[in-house]
Every structure is written in structure tokens, then in C-alpha cells.
């Protein structure tokens, strides 16, 4: 009887070890959220609810104060619902907004209210002071889905696009109506990483470039491993991820930023790829070759933990 029990125990241990060795990798962001978090959604909501006398801003004439506060509360409660709008080039700004909404919702709410009241405000290492055409346009963007009723989001996107410039913006630096859809709002990979470094208190490790894919042997494994360390942003070819025409494009370039939320190798060899963009989480099953083909940049942001 004793021998039988010890045999079962041994088999169990062997099975457990085998399970650990052979289990397919999975990656889900496991961050030191509590230690890294500077404030909580509850604190942000308390702050926003305490504002009773927000007057119509002379700087942002098309952003009603009540709607601004309503939008800010929605961001705090549902950070994954944050939406860049249809046909805009705001995807980079939207992807990185996950950081303040998760790690410092109170700081973000204060920044937005200060920006609304004074037409300028400080965030990270920057003082953001948007130009007049941008301030006049916020609140007027239309036919962009739920961004239409989100003037606070419009303020934030337009302010970032107005402040940060990369080489893609060289020929269109001054905002004109409709520029949210043009190169004025575009973000190259270096600009994206610069924004991460300058706006938020964290470390950034980036691999890849605008025209060349990163040379990483086991890309899914690399992504899964880095999700354990921080937030992983991907710069990828949107034409391939979301096909919009039957035409096969001769030139392959990245045009879209997403936040990676989960990655898992399936038993059939495909990769279950979960990411956040356009105000929702999406899961696609892709082959490892296809995934490697569409990813041009990987940025890993890890929060600096204050001692």
C-alpha cells in the first residue's frame, strides 16, 4: 500500500515537471501595478466629482465643460474604451494613453483640467501649449465614431500631435482642418518612443525601425517574455492586419500602433494574438510567419518605481 502511494506521488511529480517544461508559453502583462501606480481611479473620480465650478474655457471654445468632465470620468472608469476615431492618424496617441489611465488616472485628470482652464499644462518633462488652430478645432471633429462625442479625447490627441513632431510631419507642420487624417498627425517609431520617454515616468526599450523589421529569432516568445516586464506596444502593418482592399500592396510599411494585451502559442502552431486598439480588445489567430511579417517595432515601457 505504502509503495503504491509513493509511486503515485512520483508519477504526479514527474507529470507536474513535464507540464512545466512542455506547457506552451503564454504572455499576459503582469506588472508591479500596485507599487508603480501613482494614483487610483477612485482618487481621480473623487477629484473630478469635486469640481463644481468649471467655466467654459476661452482657450477651448468648442469643448463644453460638462462634457469634458463626463469624458474624463469615462476614461477613468473604462480605460479600454478610449477610442482614436475612424480614419484618423491618432492611433499612436491613443495606444500610449493607456499608461496615464492605468498608472496615474488622477494625474491625467488634473492635467486635462489644467489644460482646459489655462490652455497649457505640464506633463512629464513637457509643457504642452497647443496652437490656436488646434484649440479651435477640438470639439468639432465629426464622423469619427464615438470620438465625435469625446471632446476631451479630441483635445488630448490634437495637443499631442501639435506638440510632438517627427520626420513624417516635416511637410505638414501647421494644423489645418482635416489634418487629423493626414501626415500632420502621423507618428514614426522614433517619435513614438520619444513621446513615451518624455510624457511618462518609466524606462523604454525599443527594437525595430520604420522600414526594417526587428531581427528577433523567436518573436512570440520575446513578446511574451517582455509582457512580464512591462507594457508592450507594437508598430505594425495595418493593411495586413485589417485588410481594406483586395489589392496586394507592393510596398509594406507599418502604419498602426497597438498595445499588446496577451499572446499565446496554440497547439496547432498558430499564435493567439490579443491587442488593444480602436476602443476594444481584439483576438486574432495568426501564423508566426504572418506575425513576424507585420511587426516593425516593439517598444517596452516599464514604470519607474519610486522607493
Amino acid at each position: 500500500m505504502m509503495i503504491a502511494t509513493s509511486k503515485i506521488k512520483t508519477v504526479k511529480i514527474i507529470l507536474f515537471i513535464a507540464f512545466l517544461v512542455f506547457q506552451p508559453f503564454t504572455g499576459r502583462a503582469v506588472l508591479p501595478a500596485d507599487t508603480a501606480r501613482k494614483s487610483t481611479p477612485e482618487q481621480a473620480l473623487r477629484y473630478l466629482n469635486s469640481i463644481k465650478d468649471l467655466q467654459q474655457s476661452k482657450w477651448w471654445p468648442n469643448v463644453p465643460p460638462a462634457l469634458l468632465l463626463h469624458n474624463l470620468k469615462t476614461f477613468t472608469i473604462e480605460p479600454f474604451a478610449f477610442y482614436e476615431g475612424k480614419t484618423t492618424n491618432f492611433c499612436a496617441y491613443s495606444a500610449l494613453t493607456y499608461i496615464p489611465l492605468t498608472y496615474d488616472p488622477l494625474g491625467f485628470a488634473r492635467f486635462m483640467v489644467e489644460l482646459y482652464r489655462n490652455g497649457q499644462a505640464n506633463i512629464g518633462k513637457n509643457q504642452l501649449k497647443p496652437s490656436k488652430p488646434v484649440r479651435m478645432e477640438a470639439g468639432l471633429l465629426r464622423y469619427k465614431g464615438s470620438l465625435d462625442i469625446n471632446p476631451a479625447g479630441q483635445m488630448w490627441f490634437l495637443t499631442l500631435a501639435d506638440h510632438f513632431k517627427g520626420y513624417l510631419n516635416v511637410f505638414n507642420r501647421r494644423f489645418q482642418k482635416g489634418d487629423e487624417n493626414t501626415f500632420w498627425a502621423s507618428t514614426n517609431f522614433a517619435k513614438f518612443n520619444r513621446m513615451l520617454r518624455r510624457l511618462f515616468n518609466g524606462n523604454v526599450k525599443a527594437r525595430g525601425a520604420d522600414l526594417f523589421r526587428p531581427s528577433i529569432k523567436d518573436l512570440p516568445g520575446y513578446l511574451a517574455a517582455h509582457m512580464q516586464k512591462g507594457l508592450v506596444f507594437l508598430y505594425l502593418n495595418n493593411k495586413k492586419l485589417y485588410r481594406k482592399s483586395h489589392k496586394q500592396s507592393m510596398i509594406s510599411t507599418p502604419t498602426h500602433y497597438v498595445l499588446l494585451t496577451n499572446i499565446r502559442k496554440r497547439t496547432d502552431g498558430n499564435i493567439e494574438f490579443e491587442y488593444w486598439d480602436y476602443g476594444a480588445r481584439t483576438v486574432q489567430q495568426l501564423s508566426p510567419e504572418f506575425l513576424k511579417n507585420i511587426i516593425y517595432g516593439v517598444s517596452v515601457w516599464t514604470p519607474r518605481i519610486s522607493k
Binding site: 462634457l67 480614419t87 464615438s146 462625442i149 482592399s245
Partner: protein, 201 residues
Amino acid sequence: MKNRTFISSVIALASILCSCSYPRNFTRNFYARNEQKLLAIKADFSRLYAQHPFSVLFEEKTFTNISFEFNEDSIKYIYHFNLNEPAFADSLQAHHYDVRGVKALVEEMQAIQCTWIANVDYYEGLRARKLVQMSVRNKALNNTLKGESYCTLVFFETPQPFNSKGIFLDRSDRKRRRQINGNVLKRVNGKIGYAITKQYR
């Protein structure tokens, strides 16, 4: 000799210009010819969508592979299927969709070369509304120089205001022309608009 060269170059130029544009009344004629089929697809999609949200995309010109978007509460699953394989029906079953209804809709779409169908949010002032967007392929919209175009049809829930040129206007701001994916919408009838687009979604 000079005259002959001039005339032939004018004819060549005219033929190039003609090949660059689609037939002027394409949508009106196409819609009139296929009205019953298009309305049936729209009605079936709306009924099935109300039961469980989704959208369908035909990824290739062969119309045998689809990309099906299963819309759950907080997450979207975009899966790719070959219609000749059983995986599609199995996945519909697993996600609790009306398998027979969805497969019938897909066949209706195949028959008319409808590439994409989805429900889209739009706003009138602060009020959220829904419309059905459908894109159709047709040989008449292809040309060698400009490539392929699609006829995007938009089905509103309520009649839309329009101007003297038949362009739909924004109900909450009649100075604005209503757009879908950056394209101005022209009127087929009070509730249905169209745009000829380079992309199907």
C-alpha cells in the same frame, strides 16, 4: 497628317479618361437591378446582429475565405475561415450564433459579391445611432489604371436630409456633408446612401 495625329491623340486621351471613371449611373442602376437581394441581406444581417453582434468580410476575390468578427461584450474575436471546411460552422456553434442563419447570409453575400457587412455607430449631436454598411464588388468598378473600387452602401434607420446635388447632410448641422470613412455620401433614396470607395471598409 497632322490632323490625323491630332484626332488619334484626342481619341486616345478620351479613351484613357473614360477608362478612369466608372459608369455615371452605376449605383442607381445596380441598386435598381438588385434591390430585393440587397434589402434581404440587410434585413437578415440586422436580425442576426440583434441576436448576437458580428461582421463578415470576404478577404479574397475568390469569395471562399472569410474573416468573421465575433463581437462579445468586452472583446472581439477575428477568425479566418475557408468556407469549404467545417471549422466555420463549428466556431459559430461554439460562440452560440444561429449557424443556419449566418451561413445563409454568407451565401447571399457571395451571390452578389458583397465584400463586407457591419453595423457602424454614428452620432446625431450627442445621440448615438446605428447604420448598416455594406460594400459590393462589381466588374464595372474595375479599371486597369485606377485599380479596383467598391460600391459602399449605407442603410440609415431614418430618412436623411440631402442637398440639391443629392448629397446627404448632417441632421444636427445641415451645413456639413455626412461622410463615411472620409467619403461623402450620395443619395440612393431617403434612407440609403452610397459612395464609390477605394477600400471596402
